[in-house]
Amino acid sequence: MAPSPDESSVDTTDAVDPATEESGFRVSLSNFDGPFDLLLTLISKHEMDITEVSLSAVTNEFIAYLKELDDDEELDQASEFLVVAATLLDMKVAGLLPQGELVDAEAVALLEARDLLFARLLQYRAFKEVSTWFARCLHREGRRHVRAVRLDEKHRKKTPELVWSLSADDFAALALLAFAPKEMPHVGLDHLHAPLVSIREQAAIVVTLLRSAESVSFRELVAGVQEPGIVVARFISVLELYRHAALSFEQLEPLGELTLRWAAESWSDETLASLGADYDR
């Protein structure tokens, strides 16, 4: 049945399919020896200090473990491990920070961040566990047979006559509409309603502005620009130009004014043409 929440955080074998769990990845560290999942459970219950766990040791063991798996399983397990390892790493960073007296706000914020990371890990595990319920139900129901029989001729004849009003040209127009790629957008600029902005075009503007002046602040660079998409694109183009060592920037204090200077020793329009190619779909 459903992974009962209380039990699942205490006894992992109760919540997840024991077969998959027990054959799963085990770790053997100086202070812990047992299934990986149990390690996570202990950490998430704060019964084991995350800072005591050597992530590199866990990783080494995991890689050894992966070598013995077949391909499909390996892929699933590896991707899962990456998710968990990334979270563990985050937790570790938070865990290593001093947490004696909670005097300054920054430390408190970091601790809260750590709780949030614990929460994220818990949440991830909850969904992972419940996904076994989905798999079980889908499998069981996939074996069932439902009545789905074509309508008998006698009844089919009684369906109302189809009203058809499309010409062949209308139909072709409709086909074009249907074939237009459904935007299965990539996360990012697709969420903005603004028209797509070309980083290359923005870079051209940035180059022109920078070469015509001794130094330009980023604020000046985007002065008068209303669309967030263009500001973003202009900023990305600054980063790209920096990558090409075409400019240098200076920021005297955090969140302070960003001053840009043209620094390219050799610059050609070809460089501009290939700029931001990483962002092309």
Partner: protein
């Protein structure tokens, strides 16, 4: 009659599962009438036992058994048996279907039809990936309307390939698929995201 058959309602097969239930299970999912021999093979019982059980079921559904009369009946048509709605309820069914099948195709149905027309032969999952939605029920509607038809099953995957029918050509006022207005230039652009370039 035959040795492994007991009597009337309680007819059981050698393995103890009620034969009537096994026959009903098969009858529930078939599209076409099924002959006695095929049915006997399916349920793994002798033809004579199957015949006797079918007779019992006919009586049963007609209300001559222990239960009430059913809204469906078991009839032999063209040498095979199949479940049919009892004639008394034809009007009810006609009204229901009339309400279910609107006279006009939905936009979703038309777009799916267009994809099938230009990309045939094409499987349901290919259409679904182009339309980025599930098209199962729409394909059923188009089949029921006789606008598309099952062409063949893919040798490897068993997936059914669909194509359009002459009925569609008549509606469009053209004589063959070659007369469909070409839409290739735009399709080429859009084809990148799709599996293979078989679009015309």
């Amino acid at each position: 009659m035959t040795d492994d058959v007991t009597t009337t309602d309680g007819v059981t097969t050698t393995d103890g599962a009620p034969l009537a239930e096994r026959i009903e299970a098969i009858l529930l999912i078939i599209d076409e009438p099924i002959g006695l021999v095929a049915l006997a093979a399916a349920v793994g019982s002798p033809v004579a036992a199957v015949r006797q059980t079918i007779e019992t079921l006919v009586d049963d559904y007609d209300g001559r058994g222990h239960g009430p009369r059913r809204g469906f009946e078991l009839r032999e048509v063209g040498g095979g048996w199949r479940l049919y709605v009892r004639d008394d309820h034809d009007d009810l069914v006609a009204d229901f279907i009339g309400g279910q099948a609107p006279a006009r195709l939905s936009q979703a149905a038309l777009e799916t039809l267009a994809v099938i027309a230009y990309k045939q032969p094409v499987t349901r999952s290919q259409v679904a990936s182009i339309r980025a939605v599930n098209v199962d029920s729409v394909v059923r509607t188009l089949l029921a309307r006789g606008l598309i038809t099952e062409l063949f099953a893919d040798a490897e995957t068993g997936a059914i390939n669909y194509g359009t029918t002459d009925t569609l050509l008549q509606h469009l006022g053209i004589n063959s698929l070659d007369e469909l207005p070409p839409i290739s230039p735009l399709l080429d652009d859009g084809a990148d995201g799709f599996d293979e370039g078989t679009i015309r």
